[in-house]
Structure formats: structure tokens, C-alpha cells
Subunit: 203 residues, 2 copies
DNA sequence: CCCTGGTTAGTCAAACTTGAACACTGGCAG
DNA sequence: CTGCCAGTGTTCAAGTTTGACTAACCAGGG
């Protein structure tokens, strides 16, 4: 899946050159198994797949290590930008995967992607509202199916609230982005110094 | 996945005895491919798997048809109830799959499941809030990781809004549940007479 | 020295998903 | 009557995910 690819490319990019086991420990430390389909086995097979496609290169040695190729960097940028820009109701892990790495983009690019995301979300809301009216008037489907739309709409509403908030935080100068001057706005020891404590309300 | 099993069991339950192709057409009519991992191929293999596990029985004839066994009915109830009761941030299709069939339960059971769901959601919210405070104070992880929690929290907030609304609709007498007297509260021709027009904002 | 237990490192079969390919039927235009 | 297309009904290879299993290594206690 594309979340898998983004997480692997992004994590290799941070730690390169890096071998499977270190990524495995790091990603499981981020509790990634709780919100993405990324268990030990798929890390190794995902790395091999990405290497076969030329997005990673295997450095010889024991154990085999990986680093990003130029193509891999391009694909990483593409996946990251699209994860932030294009909402995917039905797959929240797309956004969460993007959020793992959003500070590796320039600040203005993140802002622009989120603006675009909000427009798409707005369009989805009005699309679903009109679908609800359609079901209610035409009765081509049982009335209870409108709840599918209501539920999806509520998730989208919630997400729009988050987009507003995070934009405000970004504009207020939070976080250090790829193009920001040095000197952390808050003291941070390393890039990914330790655990990201368990994000969503895991399964 | 459990969404797949619920959708197959629920659809067989409605149309039984039924063969693969009819389910395929019906489910794709519900636009299920847009929000669950259920494409033509997995319908047939899913049916075979469920039959192997004794949840469906194959009636002999050409083409092979399926009906629910007693075990299948039990499993259906279990999956449906859990889809409504247990929130799964990170897999919205669980809830949507449950919503396809929620009127096959008695009204009070749906209400009770949603009440329980709301309590779990509330607990998740406070768990995530305290996790955010943890990240902000301890700095064990980069500040930007709090956005994972913020985003998840917003989805959960949105979902809680939906739970409130749907409870109000149910209490106001909308929908016809398994235990309601006959006489539709709104004219509905059949159970699943035709298309469920494309629920979420597809891929 | 030997045994236990933990960490490192990775493999593998089984299960699931995907979507294109296959084969058959029947209608109907030329 | 022949060729073509649309619909019916299913299979299959290729890819992905799962998580339990293997195996080597090192450290420390008895």
C-alpha cells in the first residue's frame, strides 16, 4: 500500500544507511502497527520490493543496508505531498503517515497542501449532503443508508477542524520545517530521538 | 478482514440462497470497493473461506449457492454488534460495514451499542489529550508528532458528533428495526431495492 | 563450563486482496 | 446464419500482509 511505501521511504531517508532490523524496531516504536498495516514481515518484504523498483539501493555488506536513490527521493516527495494534500476518507493512515514526515517539507509547501486539502474536503461535504438529499427524496435505497453518508460526513467535518487548527499552529511558528533557520523553536534533542508514544486509540 | 466477513455474511443473509455473481453485482452497486477492500475476486474467495469455516453452507447445483448456517448467524450478530460498539480509528470501514445492516438488530440493542461506543470514544479523547501533554512536556519525541494525536482526536470528535445525531434520529423514531411493528415509517419498496449511491468521497 | 534468557536479524507459509482473463450464453444487426 | 457484443459466472497469478518461527550471538549466574 502507499502508506507502507511512504513510511519505509521516509524512515530509510532519516536513518540511511540502515538495515531492516533497525527500521523494524524504530517503526514499531512509533506504534505504527496500530494504525497502518506494517508488521515485522512486511518491512523486510517492502524494502525488497522498493529495492527491486529502484527506489532504494542495497549496499553490500552484512547485514544488507539500504539508502534512498534519486528516484526514491522523488517518490518520497510525491507520496508525502499527496498524503497531505489528498484526503482519503476510508484510509486515515494516509494522513498519519504523512504527518510522520511533514516537517521535512518547506513550511509554505505544507501550508499550500493543507489549503488544497481543505478545499477537497469542502467539496466532499457538499457532495455528501446532496447525496443524502438524493436518497431521502428518490428512495432508491433504504433510508438507513443515509447513515453511511452522515458518518463519513462527520469524519470529514472533524478533519476540517483539525486542518484549521494545524494551519493556525503552523502560522504561529510552531515546528521546525526543512527551510527554517537553525535554532529549534523548542528544544529537541535529535530528529527522532526516541519513542513516539502510541498515537490513535489502537485496536 | 472482519469488514469483509461482515459484508459477505450480511449480504448472504439478505439474499440467501445466493450465488457469487449476484453478491458481486449487489455489493459493487453499494460502491463497497470505494470504502472497503472488497473487489470481485475477494468475494468468491471470501465465500469459499466462510464456507470452509462452516459459517456458510454451499447448496449443490449450478451455480453453487450459499446460505447462512446457525454458526454463520451467530458470527454475523457478533461482528455486527462489535462493528457498532467498538470504535476502530484507523479503520472506518468497520463502522460503515455495520451501518449497512444496523436495522437488522432490535432498536434498543443499537441504542445500547452506540451508547457504549460513545463511552469508548470519550475515553480515547482523554487518553489522547494526556498523550499530547506528555509529548509536549517530556520531549521524548519531536514536537511534530503531537499532530498524529491532534488529527486522530479530530476524527474521534467528528465521530462523537455523528453518534449524538444518529441516537437522536433513532429516538425520534426514524428507521424500521428488526423488532418494529410492520408499516414502514417511510415508504420503502424492498429491502435493498436498488443502488446505494456511492457513500464516502471515494478514492 | 554450561545453561538461561535477551537482543539481533531475518525467513517463511498461510491468508488475503487485486483485477485481469477466461468461458459460456443469448440477442440481434447485417 | 454468422459475427459481435453485452451480460453472466468464475478462476487465477501476482502481489501484499501476517505473525509465528528460526538461528546466531552475547552476558551473566551457578
Amino acid at each position: 500500500m502507499s502508506t507502507t511505501r511512504l513510511l519505509l521511504l521516509g524512515a530509510v531517508r532519516i536513518f540511511q544507511p540502515v538495515h531492516g532490523y533497525l527500521l523494524r524496531r524504530e517503526l514499531l516504536t512509533w506504534q505504527v502497527q496500530d494504525w497502518a498495516h506494517l508488521n515485522p514481515g512486511s518491512i523486510y518484504s517492502g524494502l525488497r520490493t522498493l529495492a527491486k523498483r529502484g527506489l532504494l539501493e542495497e549496499t553490500d555488506g552484512e547485514p544488507v543496508s539500504y539508502r534512498l536513490t534519486a528516484d526514491g527521493e522523488v517518490e518520497y516527495q510525491r507520496l508525502l505531498s499527496s498524503a497531505l494534500r489528498q484526503p482519503e476518507p476510508g484510509d486515515p493512515s494516509r494522513l498519519l503517515g504523512g504527518l510522520c514526515f511533514f516537517t521535512t517539507l518547506p513550511r509554505h509547501e505544507v501550508r499550500e497542501a493543507l489549503r488544497a486539502r481543505d478545499l477537497v474536503l469542502e467539496a466532499m461535504v457538499s457532495g455528501m449532503d446532496s447525496a443524502v438529499r438524493g436518497v431521502e427524496s428518490s428512495r432508491m435505497a433504504p433510508a438507513s443508508t443515509v447513515e453511511l453518508f452522515h458518518a463519513t460526513r462527520s469524519w470529514v467535518d472533524g478533519e476540517r477542524g483539525w486542518v484549521r487548527d494545524v494551519c493556525a499552529r503552523i502560522d504561529a511558528g510552531h515546528y521546525r520545517f526543512a527551510d527554517d533557520p537553525q535554532g529549534p523553536d523548542r528544544p529537541v534533542e535529535g530528529l527522532w530521538p526516541a519513542a513516539v508514544p502510541d498515537p490513535p486509540g489502537g485496536a
